[in-house]
């Protein structure tokens, strides 16, 4: 007898199969003691896991992690700073930045109350606030990450941001943490604003990255990076 794969039985268990495949798999399980035993074991283990870590408790862990991650990259922008940066856009754009799929992005650094447009190779120090300004030729999702030479990757926004055409600041700002770590700000738009880009960055950054690189390894074709060097 040809058995469904483990993956098919697992999809069946969570109602993830198309109806015709589900019906075929269900019929097989009804007639096959071996597959039925596997399906039963999945149900038992699922129940045990949910009893051990209930959904509400699990979600609270994620909420706490998001809060910590936000503190670490310090995505914090005040209304006052927002106004300051909005004003600065008029002063500073358009200027040279990093090219990005028909557009580009630039970084603004706020230090001691002074906002400066910095290039694709920026000197930073702990306490500096950075803001990403994206320029797109057409509306598209945009996403941004910090990739440290120590191998950690932090998302700079909660989720890809649908961004209008033209110059738009991504929500929030990043405060350079102490101790300052060299790295890159990576921005992706369109299809590259995806989990695959983040996964590629994380996979290549794991274990550390050569700080002399102009861009972190694993950078997809439609993503771009600006280097941050600690003063």
């Amino acid at each position: 007898m040809s058995h469904p794969t483990a993956f098919v039985l697992e999809r069946l268990a969570v109602d993830d199969l198309p109806p015709d495949e589900a019906a075929a798999a269900r019929a097989h399980v009804a007639a096959c003691a071996e597959c039925r035993a596997y399906a039963d074991s999945l149900a038992a283990r699922s129940a045990a896991r949910l009893a051990e870590v209930p959904p509400a408790a699990f979600v609270q862990k994620l909420v706490a992690r998001r809060r910590v991650a936000r503190r670490r990259v310090a995505a914090a922008v005040t209304a006052g700073m927002g106004a300051l940066l909005a004003a600065s856009l008029i002063l500073w754009l358009p200027r040279a930045g990093v090219r990005l799929k028909g557009g580009g992005f630039a970084l603004e650094r706020q230090r001691d109350g002074v906002v400066t447009r910095v290039g694709s190779d920026a000197a930073v120090r702990a306490g500096d606030r950075l803001r990403v300004i994206v320029t797109l030729p057409a509306p598209a999702p945009a996403d941004a990450w910090f990739v440290g030479v120590d191998g950690h990757v932090d998302a700079l926004v909660d989720a890809p941001v649908m961004t209008a055409a033209g110059e738009q600041p991504l929500p929030g700002s990043v405060t350079v943490d102490a101790p300052c770590v060299d790295g890159w700000i990576v921005v992706a738009s369109g299809d590259a604003a995806s989990p695959a880009t983040e996964a590629s960055l994380r996979a290549h950054a794991a274990g550390g990255v050569d700080r002399a690189r102009a861009a972190p390894p694993g950078l997809p074709a439609h993503a771009r990076a600006a280097r941050l060097r600690c003063e």
Binding site: H3, T5, A6, F7, E10, R11, A13, V14, D15, D16, E34, C35, Y38, S41, L42, R45, S46, A47, A48, R49, L50, V53, P55, A56, F58, V59, K61, L62, V63, R65, R66, G151, A155, D158, A159, P160, S194, P195, E198, A199, R202, A203, A206, G207
Partner: protein, 164 residues
């Protein structure tokens, strides 16, 4: 995605993803980290998740990546017994290959790790692995051959009492 929707996703898929993470990283704490990382990405990329034909498949691929990242960061792992994981009846040789490959998974490159997980955990045949990864069947075949050869080498070393 609201927290209620996230809780629903965990209720439905979380136990299977948790089980998979344990099978890959073989360390309870590390598996919990990988599981949380996977759901953090689900939270961030809900649109990509929503568009996926197989939600479980999407989460598995993301969780696999999270596990590989953690394995790359932490090479030393506490071993857990294969008997702790749900096991379908297989031939002894296949189980032994799987046990050896999964135990030493961190020693392989990421592509080979991905093929190992799809083959040994999901039970996918070559053509389905090729479809899932977008790689040619020849590439998948080479990776599977490498895994089997490496498993045979490890088995021989273990039988001779040589540290591996």
């Amino acid at each position: 995605m609201t927290q209620d929707e996230l809780a629903d996703a965990y209720r439905r898929y979380g136990p299977l993803v948790a089980q998979r993470c344990r099978a890959i990283v073989r360390d309870d704490a590390l598996a919990e980290d990988a599981l949380q990382n996977a759901f953090m990405r689900l939270w961030r990329y809900e649109a990509s998740f929503a568009a996926a034909q197989s939600k479980l498949g999407w989460l598995y691929r993301v969780a696999d990546r999270c596990c590989f990242d953690l394995l790359a960061r932490r090479r030393t792992r506490r071993e857990t017994s294969l008997a702790e994981l749900p096991e379908r009846q297989r031939s002894d040789a296949a189980v032994e290959d799987r046990e050896l490959v999964m135990r030493f998974l961190s020693r392989f490159d990421e592509r080979t790790q991905q093929v190992a997980v799809l083959h040994y955990l999901d039970g996918l045949p070559q053509e389905e692995i090729a479809r899932a990864t977008g790689w040619s069947r020849q590439t998948v075949w080479k990776k599977l051959t490498l895994l089997r050869d490496r498993a045979a080498e490890l088995r021989a070393q273990l039988e001779r009492g040589v540290p591996v």
